[in-house]
């Protein structure tokens, strides 16, 4: 009946049913085309990782190929990647993966702790320095990260935690962990947005019962904040896998055995000893990094979405 009033205004009109079928088909069509656009580059990396054929002239197939789908597939690239010696480091890729894992785990623990504690203070406590603190973090966040990156490098270097080579190169990893997690507390906005939504009445009534702020944080706020804890942990765990430039500057060219996986893979393609023929191995490396991270995201999708939505409202 709504339809009749609407179609009365214009002369010709499809029935509502046909209208809906058409719009639904168009929507599906649009979604499928978009999904294809989104998948093609990713699938190409996966296919390149599995590519084992050689070019017609016998050379190893690198990036130069006109076939989207490979003629021969197999796991040879993965075997080569894991056994390969790159930049003079035996089993380099495995070492890069282990380095990144160590950095990610430690960074995750420290960052999550710092972010949650700052966010709680900013959201639920009221004190004199609160507004100034928030404004200062906002202003500091506006400086381009690179400006401070170089200074951080010299700072770490002066205490022996960056720019080391050979035996003491592992110290660079400690430096990188410090650099990653030190700034974490300033990224409290998303978690604060989440805490803001927890009713203040809960906190007030606990206070009347004689709970200290520490106990309120531990016994009331934290148990209610599972989604944001998981979101924060996920973000800080994945950051070292995704970051590239910071790791490159802090760890440096001189210590390839301490590179993170992103620096290593980038150097395979574009570094000093790069080789276009490494492309399939590079792709295999990308798959090795991508699968665990994607799995983690999918597994924790619910929490991720919740965090993103909280971040949307509070910036």
């Amino acid at each position: 009946m709504k339809n009749s009033t609407l179609s009365g205004k214009k002369g010709f009109h499809f029935s509502q049913r046909t209208n809906e079928v058409i719009s639904r088909t168009l929507s599906y069509l649009g979604l499928i085309i978009l999904a294809l656009i989104w998948i093609v580059p990713i699938l190409w990396i996966v296919l390149s990782a599995l590519r084992t054929e050689t070019n017609p002239d016998g050379s190893i197939i690198g990036i130069v190929t006109s076939n989207y789908f490979p003629n021969q597939m197999g796991g040879q690239n993965f075997v080569d990647l894991f056994n390969g010696t790159f930049y003079g480091v035996k089993h380099a890729f495995i070492r890069w993966m282990i380095n990144t894992l160590i950095i990610a785990v430690i960074d995750c623990i420290i960052s999550t702790f710092l972010i949650l504690s700052v966010a709680y203070c900013m959201s639920k406590l009221r004190f004199k320095m609160r507004k100034p603190f928030m404004n200062i973090t906002m202003i500091l966040g506006l400086f381009p990260g690179f400006m401070s990156m170089i200074a951080i490098y010299y700072l770490l270097k002066s205490i022996g935690l960056a720019g080391n080579t050979a035996e003491s190169a592992y110290l660079n990893i400690i430096g990188l962990i410090l650099a990653y997690s030190a700034g974490a507390g300033m990224g409290f906005q998303v978690a604060k947005g989440f805490f803001d939504v927890i009713p203040s009445s809960l906190v007030e009534s606990a206070k009347l019962d004689g709970c200290s702020n520490f106990k309120i944080f531990l016994k009331i706020i934290l148990p209610l904040s599972k989604p944001i804890i998981i979101y924060t942990a996920l973000m800080s765990f994945t950051a070292p896998w995704m970051d590239f430039i910071f790791a490159k500057v802090i760890i440096g060219e001189g210590a390839p055995e301490c590179w993170t996986v992103s620096v290593g893979l980038y150097s395979l393609m574009f570094g000093a000893q790069s080789n276009a023929n490494y492309f399939t191995q590079f792709a295999a490396g990308c798959v090795c990094v991508g699968i665990p991270i994607v799995a983690l995201f999918m597994f924790l999708q619910k929490y991720y979405v919740e965090g993103v939505t909280a971040g949307a409202v509070k910036g």
Partner: protein, 519 residues
């Protein structure tokens, strides 16, 4: 939430006013507020300083003998009030800092302490010195470390003053407690206060220390660098090998050079600055709004009634968020490479004979406009899913009675989209829009990994490429060219731009003004 909606409706007639008029009013308003704030700041500061000194002398006169002694020996007041642990802590800090200042511990043969303050004039010793007494060579000085250690020492002095004031305050409070007939607090009581009414001090201290060391000091360091002669080209041209680590204060000469173009470096930078700034602005606007509206449309499409496999579609789009950016960006770069599959396929089809330089990193003479468009399009590929996820949640929160009412009034679907859905989402996500705009101005990864700034622009060593943003230019100037001082200037200018944008928009956004409304 419905309150929010009503205020959007209230604002609607305003939106029909001339948009330029609104922008100009906003900017004018900003400067008026800025001026007022500026004056108020100094008036307040003056009052605070006067209050502080009045309070300070009152404490000294009124205080017990312990409080008076606290002005010279840290923790004396605490010992006087039998708060031994606290007093020991204060004393320990004082001794440690004084030793630090006097003994001047050396790292990499560069001293901290009072010598570091003296070194801040940046008059380094350019040659190695052989000390016959100890049979050791003292290496040549390094100005970077001079500056850095000087800053650290200044921060330590500030900390010393803060601890000094804290120790006086603590002793005076114990005096007051005694006068009021209470016992001075025990260490256990102090500890419990730290867990309760002063819990924020406990929670914020680690972050403050970390931020001080890894954000504040480095930022000040780089700002200082802008006023020095720190560039490796000039330093490498120095007469001896050891002078390569020395630079000096240069006042505002670097800034003057860029604006007047006295040297070839200044000319090149000055000539490219406005084009790069323009492209950074275009990039930030397009990158923000294409992703934003693309994401909203995609969210509406996926969440449409009757669409099945919602989860499958969502997962496909989330893939680009989950895959590390350096992988997906490098994959894109390789796909669009001169020898990559897209060019090969086009060649095989016979449509082109020479590779197209989509991303301008193949050869000189690539089309800059094409590269710019490609960068924005690929950025959509990365950014749309994020906004999609974000707005999906918000879409479900839009009160359905709004749509009901609109339907009763006979509004069409497009009209509902523009009159309800968009205004609602924009209202809720304004803070995100601002921060993502600023984030895009500083978006390093996308440009660096996709085009590396190409296509190259001829005309000198320091010129930025066609797609270089201010940040990637800053990176190139410092890491590739070693022009640390010029890079720092670019960084300061970038900060000035982002800070102005943020201040204007945040101050006007409702989320800032009504921070407590949802609690």
């Amino acid at each position: 939430m419905s309150d929010a909606m009503q205020s959007v409706n209230k604002d609607e007639p305003k939106a029909k006013e001339n948009i330029f008029k609104r922008i100009f009013t906003a900017i004018g308003h900003f400067f008026v507020m800025f001026g007022k704030g500026f004056v108020n700041f100094f008036v307040n500061l003056f009052h605070r300083v006067v209050d502080f000194f009045v309070e300070f002398f009152r404490r000294f006169v009124d205080g017990s003998i312990g409080t008076k002694l606290s002005h010279f020996i840290f923790g004396a007041g605490s010992f006087y009030h039998k708060q031994y642990i606290k007093g020991a802590l204060f004393l320990l800090l004082q001794v440690a800092i004084i030793l630090f200042m006097v003994l001047c511990p050396e790292v990499n043969s560069t001293p901290y302490g009072y010598k570091a303050l003296a070194n801040l004039v940046l008059h380094g010793n350019p040659t190695m010195v052989f000390d016959p007494a100890t049979l050791k060579t003292i290496p040549a000085d390094d100005s970077k470390l001079f500056l850095l250690f000087g800053l650290v020492t200044i921060i330590v002095i500030i900390l010393y003053i803060l601890i000094w004031l804290l120790n006086i305050k603590s002793s005076y409070k114990a005096d007051q407690d005694l006068k009021a007939g209470r016992k001075p607090t025990t260490f256990k009581q102090d500890w419990n206060t730290l867990l309760d009414s002063k819990f924020h001090i406990m929670m914020l201290t680690p972050t403050c220390i970390a931020a001080l060391v890894f954000t504040v000091i480095p930022t000040i360091f780089m700002i200082c660098i802008a006023f020095t002669t720190y560039n490796t080209v000039d330093m490498n041209a120095a007469s001896t090998a050891y002078e390569k680590n020395l630079f000096h204060w240069n006042g505002f000469n670097n800034f003057v050079d860029i604006f007047q173009g006295n040297t070839s470096l200044g000319k090149e930078i000055g000539a490219r600055f406005l084009p790069v700034l323009g492209w950074t602005a275009i990039w930030a606007v397009f990158a923000t709004f294409t992703c934003y509206f693309g994401g909203i449309l995609l969210a509406i499409l996926i969440n449409k009634k009757g669409i099945k496999f919602k989860k499958v579609f969502r997962v496909i789009f989330i893939l680009t968020i989950a895959i590390p950016q350096f992988i997906s960006l490098l994959a894109m770069r390789n796909i669009l490479n001169g020898e990559g599959p897209i060019n090969q396929i086009l060649k095989n089809l016979g449509w082109i004979t020479n590779s197209i330089g989509f991303l301008g990193n193949n050869a000189v003479g690539d089309d800059p406009t094409l590269a710019k468009v490609m960068v924005i399009v690929i950025n959509m590929w990365l950014g749309v899913p994020y906004t999609m996820l974000m707005t999906s949640g918000i879409l479900m929160n839009i009160p359905s009675d709004l749509y009901e009412a609109a339907r009763v009034d006979g509004a069409s679907k497009t009209k509902m989209l523009f009159k309800i859905t968009f205004p609602y989402i924009i209202f809720v996500t304004t803070p995100y829009l601002i921060s993502s705009f600023v984030g895009n101005i500083n978006s390093f990864n996308t440009i660096f990994l996709l085009t590396g700034g190409g296509p190259a622009v001829t005309g000198g060593t320091y010129v930025a490429g066609e797609t270089d943003l201010l940040v990637t230019w800053l990176y190139k100037l410092t890491i590739n060219n070693g022009e640390f001082n010029t890079g720092a200037i670019i960084g300061i200018l970038t900060f000035a731009i982002t800070a102005t944008i943020t201040l204007i928009s945040y101050r006007r956004s409702k989320a800032y003004k009504e921070e407590d409304t949802f609690q």
